[in-house]
């Protein structure tokens, strides 16, 4: 990337030499490959939870948030109720507040309605790529094209793999263990979120709380276990 220097020596935002669409496609390819099995998992979990095709696709399109969508699907399958599903969504997606802070900086010079539209499909991968590509020398038009290309590629690969997962779901033999897809994906994500002792304490606390609270707190078991895990982690942090 090259920066043009303005009158006072301050770099002016310019478009990088490489085209945003091509660069976005290159950057997004590995993330798309990782999303396909996840999409298949969510699609087959939707079948297992008894959702119709329309319901499953509606969930995919309005949420655009894989882990939370999977949690809602699992919650619907267990008939936990609306409140439990929404609380779990809130807890899982709390990190989006940070991602939103990043997007607010990237698109600060755009008008508010445009910024709200741009933030709607923000996910882990697009946040990571934006943080990597959008330094202060990149202009708004380039950022917007790059970000929308990343978003379109991620969303289409995730939704299409969900369609395939849904269509295959009922016909797949139980030995494939696709009912395990959700905990397996969560285990993988957990492996990436245990960098600190406080995070490990929070995870262990929450995991142990589930069987201990099971049967006592009913549909509130999950939010209660999460709250206990955060409490355990924060007490360790305080020390």
């Amino acid at each position: 990337m090259t920066a043009v220097v303005g009158e006072c020596g301050v770099p002016l935002p310019v478009a990088p030499a490489a085209g945003p669409v091509r660069l976005a496609a290159q950057d997004t390819a590995p993330f798309m490959a990782a999303l396909v099995p996840f999409g298949l998992a969510v699609g087959s979990a939707s079948v297992a939870a008894g959702l119709s095709f329309v319901q499953a696709m509606y969930g995919a399109l309005v949420m655009l948030a894989g882990a939370a969508q999977l949690a809602v699907v699992e919650s619907l399958g267990r008939a936990d109720g609306i409140v439990a599903a929404v609380v779990v969504t809130l807890l899982i997606n709390l990190r989006f507040v940070y991602y939103g802070a990043g997007a607010a900086r990237w698109f600060a010079s755009a008008r508010l309605p445009m910024r709200l539209l741009l933030v709607f499909p923000l996910v882990d991968q697009s946040f990571l790529l934006g943080q990597q590509r959008f330094d202060d020398s990149v202009d708004l038009v380039w950022r917007r094209r790059y970000y929308l290309t990343v978003t379109a590629l991620l969303a289409s690969s995730f939704v299409i793999s969900q369609v395939v997962g849904y269509r295959l779901g009922a016909g797949l033999p139980p030995a494939l263990g696709l009912h395990l897809a959700a905990p397996l994906v969560f285990a993988g994500m957990l492996a990436k979120h245990l960098q600190t002792p406080t995070a490990r304490a929070a995870a262990v606390g929450a995991a142990l709380a589930v069987p201990l609270l099971g049967g006592l707190t009913g549909p509130a078991t999950l939010p209660a276990a999460i709250a206990l895990g955060v409490l355990v982690g924060s007490r360790r942090w305080t020390r």
Binding site: G59, A85, L116, G188, A191, A206, G218, L222
Partner: protein
């Protein structure tokens, strides 16, 4: 109808979290304590969801299947080593299928 309502409410909550900083600014997120606490939520959520999938049946604690636990451990170990969640999922499913095939399901 309840399914669509649940997804709609979950989507509204998700969008509110994404848009919060765009609308309200970044004062709260700049708080160090808030950042520390929020960083604990993700591991707690993920661990609780894994535990509930393995250890709860109809709301009560149950003994998990050996194949399921081994698959989750394998997925965790692979992602810890490679950082690739897709690979972890594929290997976990393979471990589960193999153990079920030899009668450890």
């Amino acid at each position: 109808m309840m399914v669509l309502l649940t997804f709609t409410l979950a989507a509204v909550v998700t969008f509110a979290l994404r848009a919060w900083m765009t609308v309200a600014g970044g004062r709260l997120v700049e708080s160090e304590r808030f950042a520390e606490l929020t960083a604990l939520v993700t591991p707690a959520v993920l661990a609780a969801m894994i535990a509930s999938a393995l250890l709860l049946g109809h709301g009560h604690a149950t003994t998990p299947a050996v194949a399921s636990v081994a698959a989750v451990v394998a997925a965790f170990a692979v992602v810890r080593r490679t950082g690739n969640v897709g690979l972890g999922l594929a290997l976990g499913l393979a471990v589960n299928a193999c153990l079920m095939f030899v009668g450890l399901g």
